[in-house]
Symmetry: C2
Subunit: 341 residues, 2 copies
């Protein structure tokens, strides 16, 4: 049997209460006694039974998820994932709140963070916006002992305890590497971004350019198209591109709004096939893969991200460690042939 608090108490010749005080380093223990207990703990190789502790403590973990209110499929998945985890988690003493926040609005995000902090939760998960006001908000939370986890888009240089999302630089590099090959290492490639204010989009672009320049010097990157993740706008701009750039021989859509792109391509595809790589496996991109309109889709699994965020915040609350490999969010590469289901 694993040693228990009773064993420590006996070995150290003190009461359970004192052991508990030392274990949870609460004040009111004479240094000498403390040392006595600590020695016993070490010698005996005690590990706390977190489940029993939580039971006695009636511990309830409370986390707040702040999700942008943008209307795109990936965020729908993210929201769905949060709600699913929330439902399942009630059984495990975790209570998850979800708040919608105006998208791409640092002020709104910080305001939402402050509001969330009022409830003194154990942790807050945010889709970060890369601005100093948000860093300051994170700092405030950290100061108040509230763990902040960034989701999907990171906030380097802040006191967030974890980033649950993919390496967007690597994603951009991967897209370039695949697309370069699909294009036969030559021709002109169009790049559709959402907004360069979003850090994840900037990073994808940087990674993409890096590899195209180094590895495919014969490929020319056409002037960027900013689709603002808006299907209608993306469609209009893509149609224009397809019409006006006869030498176009590849397309990388690194943001959202792919519904518009697919419409434009569908009208165009009878003319000639164009290698296309996009992000996030949604109903739209999935269909495009099946039809052969898209050649690859890079994906981040929203479910994994949310579960990982919860695991990390919970471990943090318990002062426990996490398995790094388990928390690394992968860049999934989907082709027509390995789509799930």
């Amino acid at each position: 049997m694993r040693p228990t608090v009773h064993d420590i108490a006996e070995k150290a010749g003190v009461s359970l209460a004192t052991v508990d005080r030392v274990l949870n380093n609460r004040p009111g223990v004479k240094p000498k006694t403390r040392a006595l207990v600590e020695d016993a703990i070490a010698e005996i190789g005690y590990v706390r039974d977190v489940a029993a502790a939580n039971l006695a403590r009636k511990r309830l973990y409370r986390f707040e998820f702040l999700i942008p209110d943008s209307d795109n499929s990936f965020l729908d998945q993210l929201r769905a994932a949060v709600h699913e985890v929330a439902a399942l988690s009630r059984v495990e003493r975790v209570e998850i709140g979800v708040r919608e926040v105006a998208a791409f609005d640092a002020q709104a995000l910080v305001a939402a963070m402050r509001k969330a902090m009022m409830g003194a939760p154990d942790g807050i998960a945010i889709v970060a916006i890369d601005e100093d006001s948000v860093r300051a908000g994170t700092e405030e939370a950290a100061e108040a002992g509230i763990a902040v986890v960034t989701l999907v888009s990171d906030l380097p240089g802040s006191r967030r305890i974890h980033y649950a999302g993919i390496d967007n630089l690597a994603a951009g590099r991967t897209a370039a590497s695949l697309l370069g090959r699909f294009m036969g290492a030559t021709g002109s490639v169009g790049v559709i971004v959402g907004s360069l204010n979003a850090r994840d989009h900037r990073e994808r672009l940087a990674g993409f350019e890096q590899v195209i320049e180094r590895k495919y010097p014969e490929i020319r990157i056409l002037p960027l198209i900013e689709g603002r993740d808006d299907p209608a706008r993306v469609q209009r701009l893509a149609e224009r591109l397809l019409a006006e750039q006869p030498e176009l021989s590849g397309l990388y859509s690194l943001g959202a709004g792919n519904r518009g792109l697919v419409k434009a391509l569908r009208a165009h595809s009878p003319v000639r096939h164009l290698p296309v790589i996009a992000h996030e496996l949604t109903a739209t991109t999935r269909a495009a893969l099946s039809e052969g309109l898209f050649d690859a889709v890079l994906n981040q699994d929203a479910g994994h991200e949310v579960r990982s965020a919860v695991r990390v915040m919970k471990a943090h609350a318990d002062g426990l460690h996490t398995v790094d490999a388990q928390e690394r969010i992968r860049i999934d590469i989907f082709l027509k042939d390995n789509m799930p289901q």
Copy 2:
């Protein structure tokens, strides 16, 4: 507060003991009383606190992992993953045993299963061999109330409760799809298998052939090379292939023993680059990717597989459900540009 057994007892007008008997459907309760309690449970929306139950019960989950004794990097990873999980799990009341089994030997596997069953564990994880004797062994275990999970290689048509591994057919298709493009949809492709007695290898091959035939009719598949997952043998056969097949324009290594392949390619690569796709991200394949000798590596994450197997067996033991999406093992596609770390 969530309703507890006390609430049920009160509502049904019975004692805790009776509630417990009903909850764990143990005998010795008058049908009428049982119904009374069941109604109360339903009405009140009770969900058992598994942690508290386990504490009271001093529950200990015991699982046995039967791992082939082959000497290859992937199995090393798998073994390492089992030991890592074993170490971490002691804290969570799960005790994991590991036994080595002669590789590719159905008899040995069944014998090991029987031996493992003697200890009456809650579950056994096996790297299945696709033979009826193993199905029978699984049946025996199921009969004895021991859950069997297949790891890495599945055993369809058996009573295993779960398969923790990738879809090897899809993996083969994916390899074909990528390699076909990398080869420019034309030329001759060599395929190195481990052994066609292994179901996972057979399936990868089938998926590969399927896509090459349908999608790349111009590509010719050369006669199979059986490397038996043995580096030395793979090297010899690969060297011969490279020397004797001047029209060779692509290579798919779907088994292990890639160390030998890399040596052969390294000697060959100054001559001309050959698109190569292999399986499992190990030190060898990782280096080959970096060097540009391999173009892509399809991977299954041994850590995920083991953790998933444990989660599923544990949930089964508790009569709980699992999140399908979480337990699906993905086919990771690694290029030079998205290798982790």
